[in-house]
């Protein structure tokens, strides 16, 4: 498009929009001091666009919220970037809004006739904090959940109205689905609507009053806004966005802790821009309630009152030292409290350890969510999607102490990959009281212990095949098994039997040995005559575990028979 055509189009638009042909100028000339408002407009745009994209994926329900956030963060192409821009963009808004506020205060730009613009700005800042609180809980992870519980708890300690405020905020008596739907509605509909109206009014007023020139500058010298101020605005926008983008990439988006767990202790910390209040509560001890509710009111009241007490038209900071000093001191105190809070945490070794454990849990939950999905029963159940979760948990809780190779106080035979396999059976025959077998039991050390089988190697193989066949395995060599039966009848029947349901002499019955039913029966009561009888030190589990649990364990033991360590490793940690 030629410049001429461009001019024509602008002119066409101007007539249709019925706008006055005017060149809004900057009294006293352009400056980088005036860019912050426009940087904020850019950041608001970033929030709106990324927010809309996130809303297309988010599920505001207590069962699905965490899962949908984890899905965006870990599985959507560039989902981490969109989420990171949204989350850290919020922090950027707080920082730039703070600078904008300080600049306005130092310039004395809140003075007549701009008081209303200033007040609307303060309301907008409060809305930003509202966005932060309502947004942080939506992820429904440990961090957002507990931070919200504390924030709502503070509001609930308001005299008289406290319980109603709490109930109104969380949508009833307890945290649940309605908590998320209301904070979501607040975050994506109510607050943006209010914010849009406020921003519009703020911008219209700012434009009507024009830029406040720096004190001492000749305001009568008006320089065109376009492009002299605009280039500064755009440069600042690009610089801030570059920093934001770089930070988001360095953080790979935003963090996400493990799913909310109402039972697990978590070191809840508010978002960084509330840390000064958090620290103030720590410092003030028994006056903490006063600090929590009164200090925001004092800070807010001071900012609102500023144009009313600082009324002299002279805007030179030198003549307004106490006001400029008060604003700067206020932000310095907030900054120091924030630093002190972070420094306190950084010096706490026990906290660092807990945070490390929390981070580990988070990465585990997210890895499982990405690999297996999140059960519809709730994000907490993501941990149960580990392959063979129930089996391995039961084994770890009920069996590992006495049977795991790594257990320090192992009392029984090792149960691990290959348990009940041909090699394992061969090992038993060679050394029943070996350390990996019954060596650590009272039986193994007693007179009653089985003696090593003194047979030729091929006879051992045949016997092993017979015992192996009891489990019902499908890869049995029938000829070997039959030969094994002959050997068994010759060498073993003094103490044992392989007939189904028949106890041996002094030793256990071996019919169905290693089958799922046999394991279930053994786990239920190893002291039965058909199993180890009174010799068994293993407790019975028929009361402690349900039939289903015993069967699940038995299934796991059957699986272990043909498993190797690599199969177990492939399942991942529990």
């Amino acid at each position: 498009m030629t410049a001429r055509n461009g001019m024509r189009l602008t002119e066409w638009m101007r007539v249709r929009a019925r706008s006055e042909k005017r060149e809004p100028g900057i009294p006293g000339g352009p400056s980088f001091a005036y860019v912050f408002g426009w940087v904020l407009v850019l950041l608001l745009g970033v929030e709106a666009i990324t927010g809309a994209a996130l809303a297309a994926f988010y599920a505001p329900s207590s069962t699905d919220a965490w899962a949908s956030v984890a899905y965006v963060q870990d599985q959507m192409p560039l989902g981490w970037l969109v989420r990171g821009l949204h989350y850290h963009g919020g922090s950027a808004i707080v920082i730039i809004a703070g600078v904008h506020l300080v600049q306005t205060a130092v310039w004395g730009a809140y003075k007549k006739p701009r008081e209303l613009t200033w007040w609307i700005g303060i309301v907008l800042l409060l809305l930003v904090l509202g966005f932060a609180i309502s947004g942080y809980v939506l992820r429904w992870d440990q961090a957002g959940y507990w931070a919200n519980r504390v924030e709502v708890g503070i509001a609930a300690s308001t005299p008289v109205a406290g319980p109603t405020i709490r109930s109104l905020a969380i949508g009833g008596n307890e945290y649940g689905n309605l908590t998320l739907t209301r904070f979501y509605a607040l975050h994506i509909v109510v607050l943006p609507a209010l914010f849009a109206v406020g921003t519009f009014a703020h911008l219209v007023l700012a434009r009507r009053h024009g830029t406040t020139p720096r004190w001492g500058r000749d305001g009568s010298m008006v320089v065109a806004r376009w492009p002299y101020q605009t280039i500064r605005n755009v440069t600042a926008m690009a610089a801030v966005f570059a920093v934001l983008l770089g930070y988001v990439i360095s953080q790979h988006g935003a963090d996400l802790a493990a799913p909310a767990d109402p039972a697990a202790a978590f070191d809840a910390r508010p978002l960084w821009y509330f840390r000064w209040l958090f620290e103030l509560r720590h410092l003030t001890g028994s006056y903490e309630k006063l600090a929590a509710l009164a200090s925001p009111a004092i800070v807010g009241g001071f900012l609102v009152g500023l144009p009313l007490i600082d009324r002299d038209p002279d805007r030179s900071p030198k003549k307004r030292l106490k006001f400029v000093g008060a604003v700067i001191a206020l932000f310095a105190i907030i900054g120091l409290l924030t630093l002190k809070s972070f420094a306190g945490d950084a010096g706490d070794a026990a906290l660092a350890k807990r945070e490390q454990a929390d981070a580990l849990l988070a990465s585990r939950a997210r890895a499982l969510a990405a690999a297996n999905g999140v059960p519809v029963t709730g994000a907490q159940d993501v941990f149960t999607t580990v392959p063979m979760y129930q089996q391995r948990t039961l084994f770890a809780q009920k069996c590992a102490g006495c049977h795991d190779a790594k257990s320090k106080d192992r009392k029984g035979p090792i149960i691990g990959p290959g348990h009940g396999s041909r090699d394992w059976l061969k090992g038993v025959l060679h050394a029943p009281s070996g350390d990996a077998y019954w060596g650590r039991t009272k039986l193994g050390a007693s007179e009653d212990a089985m003696k090593p089988a003194e047979l030729a190697p091929n006879e051992i193989d045949d016997l092993v095949e017979l015992l192996y066949a009891q489990s019902g395995a499908s890869d049995v060599n029938q000829a070997k098994r039959d030969r094994g039966k002959t050997i068994f009848d010759k060498a073993c029947t003094d103490c044992h039997s392989v007939d189904e349901g028949v106890a041996g002499g002094s030793g256990p019955g071996l019919g169905d040995l290693g089958s799922r039913d046999w394991f279930t029966s053994y786990i239920s009561n190893p002291k039965k005559a058909i199993h180890m009888g009174k010799n068994s030190e293993m407790p019975r589990f028929d009361a402690e575990l349900t039939m289903v649990e015993r069967d699940v364990l038995a299934g796991y033991l059957v699986w272990l028979r043909s498993a190797v360590q690599a199969d177990l490793d492939k399942l991942g940690p529990l």
């Binding site: 109104l168 949508g171 008596n173």
Partner: protein, 176 residues
């Protein structure tokens, strides 16, 4: 026209009434609906004691052990779900007695942890501390009372705990 100011005034009022009325017709039902959950029991859990397994899971004389209190059924607005964690409790067994403390901090409801080396309870949010028996250690944090004991009994060799949430941030113990 002589009646023009009257007419104009009437039209102004009429516009206000009509416009305001239209707004109210939409706003009242919307607000009524939005405040409905306030004060209502939107999350319902059975009030019966909750089964926590065999009493043997607690060794006599062992330190406090954290358990998740899992309700068999929880109705949460439009969903109903099984095995939902309501919160945490700390249990211990001394000789014939079983004791339970709510892990909900009486300050603002964070989950309280037990520090085995220091033999004390600690709230990770605002550093309130309690002794091994659950008594508040003065001047450590903002909590105003001892940890809340929960009713627990042994029935048929099984632990049965009654889950109660108490009002937060007050010195006395009142059910929420």
């Amino acid at each position: 026209m002589a009646d023009e100011p009257d007419r104009r005034g009437f039209l102004k009022v009429a516009t206000g009434v009509l416009g305001g009325g239209l707004g109210l017709v939409v706003a009242v039902p919307a607000l009524r609906m939005c405040i409905a959950p306030t004060g209502a029991e939107t999350v319902t859990t059975p009030h019966d004691p909750i089964e926590l397994g065999l009493v043997e899971r607690l060794k006599v004389g062992a330190p406090w052990q954290r358990v998740s209190v899992v309700a068999p059924v929880v109705k949460d607005a439009w969903t109903t779900a099984r095995d939902i964690v309501l919160g945490g409790a700390w249990l211990r067994r001394t000789d014939a007695k079983v004791e339970a403390l709510s892990a909900v901090c009486p300050h603002l409801g964070c989950a309280v942890g037990f520090d085995e080396t220091a033999k004390s309870f600690l709230c990770p949010c605002h550093n309130s501390k309690w002794s091994e028996s659950g008594g508040l250690v003065a001047n450590t944090g903002p909590a105003q009372r001892d940890l809340d004991p929960l009713p627990i009994e042994v029935h048929d060799g099984r632990l049965r705990l009654t889950w109660v949430r108490y009002k937060l941030d007050i010195p006395t113990r009142e059910p929420a």
